[in-house]
Amino acid sequence: MIAIVDLDVGNFANVQKALGGVVTRDPDEIDRADRIVLPGVGNFGAAAEKLEPLREVISSSVEEGKPFLGICLGLQLLFEGSSESAGRGLGILPGRVEKLPENISPHIGWNEVDFDGRFQLFSSEKPRPYFYFVHSYYIQPAGKEMVVGETCCELDGEEFRFPAAVRRGDVYGVQFHPEKSTGNGLKLLERFKEL
């Protein structure tokens, strides 16, 4: 069973439709699940507060090696903190969340992602598949080795590349919204079920 963690902002009917599972904020249910998805929209601090009662069960599940997928704000919450607002992230991954440079914020729309092809979750027949993004903050992981997907925007005539996907062990996070990325996104979610 997959637990889709509900932080009370946004609606994850289509995540649930793609993955099955239950939308929940019950620690026991999350504990019983064999996989966890943390979707999220809105403000980092507000979400971090809602996440507080679930910190322990999420951290211990991840330690056990349960596959975990953070989506958008759910990815950002894996890190330690954000310049968006005070509040403690899960700290499962080292690093912070910062505001995108002004000229490319908010980053809204479909962008190509360069994935590290070694990971099954991100395998695609397309060289650089498109995914839908909507965010103003981006992750700055403490180590480059966990970045397994990057996207790119034009900033003052230069390429500005930033992380779109991270992975450490069975913990995955994506800045884009697979549940809003039609075929490419559905395939990714489908593969998460098979991890």
Binding site: D8, V9, G10, N11, A13, N14, K17, A18, V41, G42, N43, E102, N103, I104, P106, H107, I108, G109, W110, N111, E112, K126, P129, Y130, Y132, F133, V134, H135, S136, C152, C153, E154, H177, E179, K180, S181, T182, G183, N184, G185, L186
Partner: protein, 252 residues
Amino acid sequence: MLAKRVIAALDIKDGRVVKGVNFVNIRDAGDPVELARRYEEEGIDELVFLDITASYEKRRTLIDLVKRISRELFIPFTVGGGVSSVGEMRDLVRNGADKVFVNTAAVENPDLVREGAEVIGSSNLVVAIDGKREGKRWQVYTHGGRKARDLSAREWGRRVEELGAGEILLTSMKADGTKDGFDIELTEAMAEAVGIPVIASGGAGGPEHFYDAYVAGASAALAASIFHYREYEVGEVKEYLYDRGINVRREK
């Protein structure tokens, strides 16, 4: 690189699509979900639902629609039409809308933009601006274009950006419905005035009009009738743009 977006707009009344559609192989031409699904298959990048219901039942039917769309579709969509409080914005997002747009209520009460951005997030809040040329400036109109305001569209755009709007949905009242192309001067003026994405709206008659809008600085361009009446398929518009060097998402 971030692709330029092609957006389809649907006018909704009492939960049904208002403009007639002549899609073949569609069971219910007035059903927004059926139409939206067709657009998703054609490769549309985003959908905008404008609710023009005036009745007392408005809020409930819109929420029901948002729920249905979010269960059935796997592409982003924006809803609006008479949204006037942060509570409504929150309800729409909580029920599955990716973005919400406000128009008249934001002009009446600019704080709504700031408060809305704090609650649903800046990047999920769109401010719709209807503009029309008056002498040297573009004047803002509200109430579905019926009421002229003493406000310049460019200044209003800058102001809502400061207040936290994530995007501007810019409709030219002169161009709307003409199919003669987007209002390029207005699009250019707004894109230059603000740093947030501008969605050009009103006047789309063919793929060349989309091209002009992107060249003028729009991040996205929106059309209704050319897609409804199948004068063009989304893919045709994108092929035209791709051939002319515009970065679009051609996969479906």
